[in-house]
């Protein structure tokens, strides 16, 4: 798994639960608290063990934990901005999710993210299919699209429908019921980054500590 994924989980734990909890997770994994490097590669099993240890330490079921992580990551700098390039409205963003893996590969060819496809159902709801190597990306995406809805100011009911197997791959479904595109003001998004804002000294998600989401909805029990 790309180190980016592991560092994202690492910064999720440190930001939301603090360094002592991160130290507990590390102790469980018998690894140093310095943790992961975003630009190195790690064995897939390492990520799986990291998620397992976090789930036990926080006493939070795996699916809910992955939703939390997805929601957290979506609001970290610069990923929040990169996601918002997907569309001018939340609906556009959802329809652009098909392109998200290809976009991710444009900057990191070996990122290894699942394939996504978003279809409109006869009842008007949207259904996101997440097909990846392992079960879990669906829950992650569920949390992610939920956080992005807040960011756009859209009101939507987003549910994780479950997982199944498809040609040896894990296929998961997320249902999005878009109730109101302009429910709230949402967060400001300028195409141009504020000129006077120095480029984040804590780059990418390795340090989600400087999220520009103003800490909204970032605390989980």
């Amino acid at each position: 798994m790309h180190g980016l994924i592991n560092t994202a989980i690492q910064s999720f734990i440190r930001h939301n639960y603090g360094t002592p909890v991160w130290a507990q997770v590390c102790a469980r994994l018998e690894m140093p608290t310095s943790g992961f490097e975003a630009m190195l590669k790690y064995d897939d099993a390492v990520t799986e063990r990291l998620i397992g240890a976090t789930s036990i330490t926080l006493a939070r079921p795996r699916t809910l934990l992955l939703e939390d992580i997805g929601a957290f990551i979506a609001m970290t700098h610069p990923l929040r901005r990169l996601l918002r390039f997907g569309g001018a409205s939340y609906h556009e963003f959802l329809l652009s999710l098909d392109e998200l893996p290809a976009r991710a590969r444009m900057c990191l060819p070996d990122i290894g993210v699942p394939e996504l496809s978003c279809a409109t159902m006869p009842d008007g709801s949207l259904r996101l299919r997440v097909v990846g190597d392992v079960v879990g990306w669906g829950a992650f995406m569920c949390g992610l699209v939920r956080a992005v809805a807040d960011d756009y100011g859209a009101l939507a009911v987003i549910d994780y429908l479950g997982s199944g197997q498809e040609n040896g791959a894990a296929c998961e479904l997320v249902q999005i019921l878009l109730l109101d595109q302009a429910f709230s003001e949402g967060m400001q998004f300028d195409l141009a980054q504020e000129a006077d804002r120095p480029s984040s000294p804590s780059p990418l998600m390795a340090c989600g500590l400087t999220t520009d989401a103003g800490g909204r909805g970032q605390k989980y029990g």
């Binding site: 990169l82 976009r103 390795a206």
Partner: protein, 367 residues
């Protein structure tokens, strides 16, 4: 307006009728000029660039410099545009923004321009406060912005990683090259520095000297006052050696109470001798440790690279060592020079002694 399809020559191309609103949706950065270069219509994004609809009815050159920046032309835009399909416009008032695009002559002698910000995209977005809605869905602007930000993030991350790796490399290097007790270089660091100096000198760099220092009476301190006191004495000696040498010189502890100094550009034997005497004098000052007065001294043997026709680190070290033992034999607390493999008038003293294959000489005192 006429759109030309891929039909055979002579066959009439199909016409597509578009009003300016629809054209603006498809090409938000179009400008339509009549045959006299007057702006007849434009897309909503260009409108933001020229400051609003008041530009309609003005000539293109009232709003833009035509041509590459620095080679703008005074000829009318139409003439310029007729000459080339690829055009370059710079908005008046915004010299840092270049618009690139193509010009197509329409059937009624008008000119349709379709423009793009190209590489000036980010700056244009900031200046004209553009949003996603200002770009056609087919425009790659969003991908360009996305890539620009993603690339910056990835580069920052790599930069941070490289910094961390470099810090780790440096501290590992320091740890590998430092004597933990005294903070001086260790043998490994010294060997590297000596290799470097040999290489520099062989390639025309400045000469250098090796000084081998062995403490006198140190064992007595260790035996009577204990190892902790001995360690304090060694740290004290290290400080003296640091004080008496220069920044580029390398001071190394090679054994229990043995030190080697690599002295750069230290060609003047008199000054080397004076330095040796200063070190010995400071070593001989009584040192108070836990209420006890310690007295030590030191003997020094020095070899100088300019005294060798065939430069060899091993030979210079062996000669400095031989000079050191010569100093010890002569009663300690003194500094002796090896003569090397060349005869040197300035160091050839009448009382030159031969010790094995190595010539050891004493620099005349009195300086």
């Amino acid at each position: 307006m006429r759109a030309v399809g891929g039909r055979n020559m002579g066959e009439r191309a199909p016409e597509i009728k578009l009003d300016t609103r629809a054209l603006g949706l498809a090409m938000p950065m179009y400008i339509f000029l009549d045959s006299k270069d007057v702006i007849q219509a434009m897309g909503p994004t260009v409108m933001k660039v020229v400051g609003g609809p008041s530009a309609l009815g003005h000539r293109l050159t009232d709003c833009f410099y035509v041509g590459q920046s620095g080679c703008t032309t005074k000829t009318t835009a139409t003439m310029q545009l007729a000459a080339t399909r690829r055009i370059h416009l710079t908005p008046r008032g915004w010299p840092q923004i270049g618009l690139r695009g193509c010009a197509i002559t329409t059937e009624d002698q008008g000119i349709l321009l379709n423009l793009t910000f190209g590489v000036h995209l980010s700056e244009a977005i900031r200046i004209f406060e553009l949003t996603q809605a200002d770009f056609a869905s087919s425009d790659m602007a969003m991908e360009l912005l996305y890539l620009q930000e993603a690339k910056t993030a990835v580069l920052n991350e790599f930069g941070a990683l490289n910094q961390r790796l470099d810090d780790a490399r440096r501290s590992a290097l320091d740890a590998a090259h430092t004597d933990t007790l005294t903070g001086l270089s260790n043998r490994r660091a010294f060997d590297l520095a000596l290799e470097q100096s040999l290489s520099e000198t062989r390639h025309g760099g400045a000469a250098f000297a090796l000084a081998h220092l062995d403490l006198d009476h140190f064992k007595a301190v260790n035996d009577t006052l204990g190892h902790a006191a001995g360690d304090q004495v060694l740290a004290h000696v290290a400080q003296i050696l640091r004080d008496e040498t220069r920044g580029r010189d390398v001071v190394c502890r090679v054994g229990g109470d043995e030190f080697v100094l690599l002295l750069h550009e230290a060609m003047d034997l008199n000054r080397l001798e004076a330095m040796g005497q200063r070190i010995i004098a400071r070593l001989e000052r009584p040192l108070d440790i836990a209420g006890q007065s310690c007295r030590i001294s030191g003997s020094i043997g020095i070899s100088v690279s300019q005294h060798y026709a065939a430069l060899s680190g091993a030979v210079m070290m062996a000669d400095a060592d031989a000079a050191l033992y010569q100093a010890k034999r002569e009663g300690r607390a003194r500094c002796r020079f090896a003569t090397g493999d060349l005869a040197h008038e300035d160091v050839n003293e009448p009382n030159r002694e031969v010790q094995g294959a190595t010539l050891v000489s004493r620099v005349s005192g009195g300086f």
